[in-house]
Amino acid sequence: MEQSQLMQYLPVLMLIVVAIGFAAGTLTISVFLGQSAKRTKAKDMAYECGANPIGENTPRFSIKFHLVAMLFILFDIEVVFLYPWAVVYRDMLADHATRNLILGSMISFMFILFAGYLYALKKKAFDWKN
């Protein structure tokens, strides 16, 4: 009984093993079965319509929306708290002692985060065009 909940994760483990095994197996088999061409420096160069490529092969690209990504993490955390809340919501609502607490706590939590959201909107944090 004690281990039974853990045993439910056995399929997950099997899936991971199969996924890794498939990827590794395919790569290994292709090394053994495939014909390997001779590698030269010219062949490994990036193809640029015949001309030799100029500059670095890892150009810098602008990620102007990194601010949105940073804000996303903070809202992502909120979902983590929402999930156990949704699980216990009905139980705690049925209980007289915790009825007001369960709703009130989440409303005030959301309210404070919503203030942050409004601040971000007002400062045009989601606008990455310029």
């Binding site: 281990q3 853990l6 399929p11 156990p84 699980v87 404070i112």
Partner: protein, 178 residues
């Protein structure tokens, strides 16, 4: 599945998996900090993702199922993506291999040695003969009851923390803030 359970005794498998996941976590951890093949921060970030995921495996073995999911969603899914974003944004070149300064190495060994001493002392101070039997289930419902009962005030404070972080991020990132 039944045949597999017959193959390996049910009580053995978690212990075996502990060694697998612990080894993976530590191995990937070493590759995050000191990768002998690459000094590129992107490599470190990718290995940190793997370390975090193997740690989620350890969480499952500790019956903290919800935390394992959170670990994968928040750490591997969101935090590491942000790390990679910033690495790409900054366009950091490969770090040159350089000699580790003696002073820093001494400081590192000293601090690790101190912690190791404390850890070993602590292990000896506890009664190791009294093996506590693992009983706690990381039940999401129980976790929620605790979080929204006893820990409801920290939960509210967390929202303020997130608000502060939001304001901080916007202030630091917006160049033309009026």
């Amino acid at each position: 599945m039944d045949s597999l359970q017959n193959l390996i005794p049910e009580t053995m498998l978690p212990d075996m998996m502990f060694y697998v996941f612990a080894g993976l976590t530590l191995g990937f951890g070493i590759l995050v900090v000191a990768n002998p093949f690459s000094r590129n921060p992107v490599t470190s970030a990718m290995f940190l993702v793997l370390a975090v995921i193997s740690m989620a495996g350890l969480f499952v073995l500790l019956h903290a199922f919800f935390l394992a999911a959170v670990q994968v969603i928040v750490y591997a899914g969101a935090v590491m993506v942000l790390f990679l974003f910033v690495i790409m944004l900054l366009d950091i070149k490969d770090e040159q291999k350089r000699k580790i300064k003696k002073g820093f190495l001494l400081a590192g060994l000293l601090s690790v040695g101190t912690i190791a001493g404390l850890f070993i002392k602590g292990l000896h101070a506890t009664r190791l003969d009294a093996h506590p039997s693992p009983t706690t289930e990381g039940d999401t419902a129980l976790l929620g009851k605790l979080l929204f009962g006893q820990y409801v005030l920290p939960f509210e404070v967390v929202s303020v923390l997130l608000l502060v972080a939001m304001v901080g991020v916007i202030l630091l990132s917006k160049k033309d803030l009026k």
